[in-house]
Each structure stands twice: as structure tokens, then as C-alpha cells.
């Protein structure tokens, strides 16, 4: 019988990467495909989906109650993990443009590290203190909103220029949905297939509660996703609206 239950492991390392982002390593290695996620149980607080940035590593930005609690944990503390879940990146062709925005850089690091493609990379953040993992990205183009590191530009602008200059077989990306919205328009215009890691409010993580399913197809982010291609993204709720924890629609 399959079990989908958090297994508790001690944290073997906690590293502060930026003022708001920490990398956590735990005493268990997952056999995973980059882009897959695990459910991370912060005992007594909450359980949240987080993409793996390595076989035994998650990289998390402080954004709410659960991530704040996670950030307060130290080496030797327990977290519970289950997974890996979802599809992960499965990208045809060889020349791939990677785009990571904000904490969306984390899963793209796993893809850059284990993806075995000819990667060109764009990573973007608000400012230089929020850029991390730059050593893992081949053919790196950095950008910041304020120009404090790399080019002063949005990642989408840099990606658009690269797509004009060179031939790519695919674009793989993770980041804020508004970034992905513009990036998808750019990919469609350039006629390059898109593979984006998407996010929706998740409860069960195993495809039974329905909370993360998207309109109009009922595609479940936790099961068929989280990596969506053009056939899923086109004419869908993505880039338009999502549902909150109660299931109410909210505009993007």
C-alpha cells in the first residue's frame, strides 16, 4: 500500500542566502526530477509545498506563517517531508533558456545542476542582496530591478532579447506569476515552447482534494503539474485569476 505521510528528518544544514531566503538541508536524499516538489511539515505549524533545489535541499523565502516558522529552525531540528510529487521538467530539445525570478531561482538551480541541457540562464531579483545560487547557472545573465547587480531590467526583458538573438528549443522558468505572464507572451511570439513551474494554493498535495486544480480543464498543479506547457497555459485561468485558501476567486 502506498503511504503519503511526512517522514521526520533532522536539518543537517541551514544557510542564509539573502536577507529573506534560506537553504535547508535534511538527512534524506530524494530521487527526483528537477521541478518536482515535496510537502514540508513544520511540526505544529503547517505543511507547505516547496520545490526541491537539490536531492536533500529546499530553498525558502520568508513570506508567511509557515515559512517564518521554517526560518526559525536550526541545524538539528526536525522537519517532516513527503514526496517527491508532481511531474518535474521534461523538456525536449537541447538549447534551453532558463529564467528564474525571485525565489523562483531555487527550482531552476536544480534544473541547471541536473538537467543535462545546453543552458543559457537569466536570474532576476529586486536587488543584489536577493540574488542567490548564481554559481550554479551556466551562461548567466543577471538582472535587478534597481541595477545594483547585473543589468537594470526585468528578467523578461533580458529573456526577450536573448530569444531574438539566438535560437532556443525551449524556455524553462519559475518566478512570480506576473513575470511568467509576460514571459509566456514573449515565448508565444517567438514561437518557442514554454515550460513553467506554476503555483496554486495546495492542501493535500496528492491529487484528491481538488483545491489546486485550474480552469478550464481541472489540471491539478500537485499531480499533473507543477510544470505546465503551452497547452495547459493557453486559455486557462493562469495569468488571470486563482483561488484562495477558501476557494474564492481572486484576480492575479
Amino acid at each position: 500500500m502506498p503511504t503519503d505521510f511526512p517522514q521526520s528528518y533532522r536539518l543537517t544544514g541551514v544557510r542564509k542566502l539573502t536577507p529573506t531566503v534560506k537553504a535547508f538541508e535534511f538527512a534524506h536524499e530524494f530521487d527526483f526530477v528537477p521541478g518536482q516538489f515535496i510537502m514540508v511539515w513544520v511540526p505544529g505549524v503547517d505543511e507547505i509545498p516547496i520545490s526541491l533545489s537539490g536531492p536533500n535541499q529546499i530553498t525558502v523565502k520568508k513570506v508567511g506563517e509557515a515559512t517564518n516558522a521554517l526560518h526559525s529552525l536550526k541545524k538539528g531540528d526536525y522537519i517532516g517531508v513527503r514526496g517527491p510529487y508532481g511531474n518535474g521538467f521534461s523538456i525536449p530539445g537541447h538549447r534551453v533558456l532558463l529564467v528564474g525570478g525571485g525565489v523562483g531561482i531555487a527550482p531552476m538551480k536544480a534544473l541547471a545542476q541536473y538537467g543535462e541541457k545546453d543552458f543559457t540562464s537569466v536570474i532576476g531579483a529586486q536587488d543584489k542582496t536577493e540574488l542567490f545560487f548564481r554559481q550554479y547557472f551556466p551562461g548567466l545573465h543577471m538582472c535587478t530591478d534597481d541595477g545594483s547587480a547585473g543589468e537594470k531590467a526585468f528578467a523578461t526583458v533580458v529573456a526577450e532579447r536573448l530569444l531574438k538573438d539566438r535560437k532556443f528549443d525551449a524556455v524553462a522558468a519559475c518566478g512570480p506569476e506576473v513575470m511568467l505572464k509576460f514571459l509566456f507572451q514573449i515565448c508565444e511570439k517567438a514561437n518557442v515552447p514554454a515550460y513553467f513551474s506554476m503555483e496554486r494554493w495546495m492542501k493535500c498535495g496528492i491529487g484528491v482534494c481538488g483545491h489546486c486544480s485550474v480552469d478550464p480543464t481541472g489540471w491539478r498543479v500537485c499531480k499533473e503539474g507543477p510544470v505546465a506547457d503551452g497547452t495547459v497555459l493557453r486559455n486557462s485561468e493562469f495569468f488571470q485569476y486563482k483561488r484562495d485558501q477558501a476557494g474564492r476567486e481572486v484576480e492575479l
Binding site: 510537502m39 511539515w41 526536525y78 492542501k203 481538488g210
Partner: protein, 301 residues
């Protein structure tokens, strides 16, 4: 071969998507209908927006699931898109709902009835909140009064309370519901509830600490409950609890069920568990010379 009728609903097969599973939007309900379900159920609708319990809310411990999702709902006032798009679904759509008082149940029922669901599934069994669900399903008098009030606003739409098994009064509650006009009875909501403690962390794992138990582990408990219900009440019965395979459906029917709901089976066999169970039923029926499901209902008595 698998057609069935229950409380006036014509089903192409007797497998119904159980309330609480995958019923959060019209689009996912449509997907389940396209995966072979004979009817689908909208996740319980409440009077006001509600976020539900913190995670973990659903876990599989091996022989079953435990859940304490905690009745999240956008609230009946925030479902415009869902009601509009439900019309594209090819099978009957059942609406599950709840309230925190009899008047709230009635308020939600009145709003739902305007959208003409095929049936009302009255949630008097959920163990995962402190003031909803099973609170109304353990005392025959309360349950009977609730069903009576809901029948007053339901019009021609059949009313089906879904029972909690976690009371010595289960049969009396069922009888009170039928005496007050319930058109069908669904048995059962989740069992227990149960608890699992992480021995390293020394804390309960579920966000709500406890969770209702479903899945294969509870199937024999469900079969016994349906068997008892069939002897005691005069209304069609919908069996819910650990049904995954065609022979599980047939077993529940022999105990007395007219139709079944499948929920946890989606985890074990995928979203197409409905069509899988149906082809298994057809194969069994052919092998055993059974022409119609009706001859199976209650045949183990």
C-alpha cells in the same frame, strides 16, 4: 447494463464522486464526470467563506487516508462561475452543503436550490470542525428536525443526508431522517477520527491533530453499517467507504446499497477509478449471468 435509479436520479452507472474529493470547481467536476463517474458531488458549500484547517489536511498512512480539511468553502455567495459552468456537466451534479445551525443550513439550501442541483447532500457527518457536520448527525431529534426544515425549501429536489458512523444512534438518526422526508441516505462520512503522532517530533501530525479515517481499512465497517441500514430503513441507500474495485461496489449493493460513492479510491487508482470499477462490475456481471444491478441490491440478506 449499469444504469441505476436512485430517488428519481437516473444514473448511467452507480459510481458517484464522494463529497469532499475533487469537487472544488466546476472544471474539476467536469473532469471527473468525463472520467466515468455516474454522478458528481460539489464539495460541501457553507454559509460564509471558510479557509479550513492548517495542513497537513490529508495524509495516506497505508491502508487508508485520514483527513481534516475542515470544510473550506468560498461560501454560496461566491460561486457564480461554478454554477454557470456546472451546466456543461453531462451527469447529475449533487450539491453537498453544511451550516453551523439549522437556520444556516436552510439559508444555504435555499440558495443552492435556485441553481437546481440534481440532489442535496446534507453534511451531518463531517468530524473535522467543532460546530458543523457531525454535530447535527448524532442526535435523532436534531437530525430529523434539520431534514424536515430542509425538505420545506428543497421543492422537488431530493434530499440525502450523509450520516456519521461515529454514534451509537446511527440507525435512529437514519430513521429520523427518513421519517422527516429524506429521499435517500448516504452512509458514511469518515470514521473515528484518528490520530498519528510523529515519534521523533512527539506531536500529532495532522494540522487539526485528528482526522477522519477513510479508504480500504474502513470498508468492512461500512458494509456492516449498510447491511444494518437496509434492514432498518425504507429509503434507498448510497454506500461510501473504501470502495475501489468493481467487486467492492457489488459487495456494497449486496449489503443494501443502490449506488456508491468513491473518494479515497481516487488516491489509490487514479481519477479514472470510476471507469475502472465500472468495467470490473460489467465483467463480474457477465461472468455471473447478472443482467441488471437491481437484482443485486440487498441480495446478501
Amino acid at each position: 447494463m449499469l444504469t441505476m435509479e436512485i430517488a428519481g436520479l437516473k444514473l448511467k452507472n452507480p459510481t458517484i464522486l464522494a463529497a469532499g474529493f475533487l469537487g472544488t470547481s466546476a472544471s474539476i467536476l467536469k473532469r471527473v464526470a468525463d472520467s466515468g463517474a455516474g454522478a458528481v458531488t460539489i464539495k460541501s458549500i457553507g454559509p460564509e467563506p471558510r479557509e479550513g484547517n492548517p495542513n497537513p489536511t490529508v495524509l495516506c498512512w497505508g491502508e487508508g487516508l485520514m483527513n481534516a480539511v475542515g470544510l473550506p468553502t468560498p461560501g454560496y455567495k461566491n460561486m457564480t462561475r461554478e454554477w454557470a459552468e456546472l451546466k456543461d456537466i453531462s451527469v447529475p451534479v449533487i450539491a453537498s452543503f453544511y451550516g453551523g445551525s439549522i437556520s444556516e443550513f436552510v439559508e444555504v439550501a435555499e440558495a443552492i436550490v435556485e441553481n437546481k442541483p440534481a440532489m442535496l447532500d446534507v453534511n451531518i457527518g463531517c468530524p473535522n470542525t467543532k460546530k458543523h457536520g457531525a454535530v447535527f448527525g448524532k442526535d435523532p431529534e436534531t437530525a430529523g428536525k434539520l431534514i424536515n426544515k430542509i425538505k420545506e425549501v428543497a421543492g422537488s429536489i431530493p434530499v440525502m443526508p450523509k450520516l456519521t458512523p461515529n454514534t451509537d444512534n446511527m440507525l435512529e438518526v437514519a430513521k429520523a431522517c427518513v421519517d422527516n422526508g429524506a429521499d435517500a441516505i448516504a452512509g458514511f462520512n469518515t470514521w473515528g477520527p484518528g490520530m498519528v503522532i510523529d515519534v521523533n517530533v512527539r506531536k500529532p501530525v495532522m494540522g487539526f491533530k485528528t482526522g477522519g479515517i477513510s479508504g480500504p481499512a474502513v470498508r468492512p465497517l461500512m458494509v456492516k453499517g449498510i447491511y444494518d441500514l437496509y434492514e432498518k430503513i425504507d429509503a434507498p441507500i448510497v454506500a461510501v467507504g473504501g470502495i475501489m474495485y468493481g467487486t467492492d461496489v457489488i459487495e456494497a449493493m449486496m449489503a443494501g446499497a443502490t449506488a456508491v460513492e468513491i473518494g479515497s479510491g481516487i488516491h489509490y487508482r487514479g481519477i479514472d477509478v470510476f471507469s475502472k470499477a465500472c468495467s470490473e462490475m460489467e465483467a463480474w456481471m457477465k461472468e455471473n449471468g447478472v443482467k441488471s444491478l437491481e437484482e443485486l441490491v440487498g441480495s446478501a440478506h
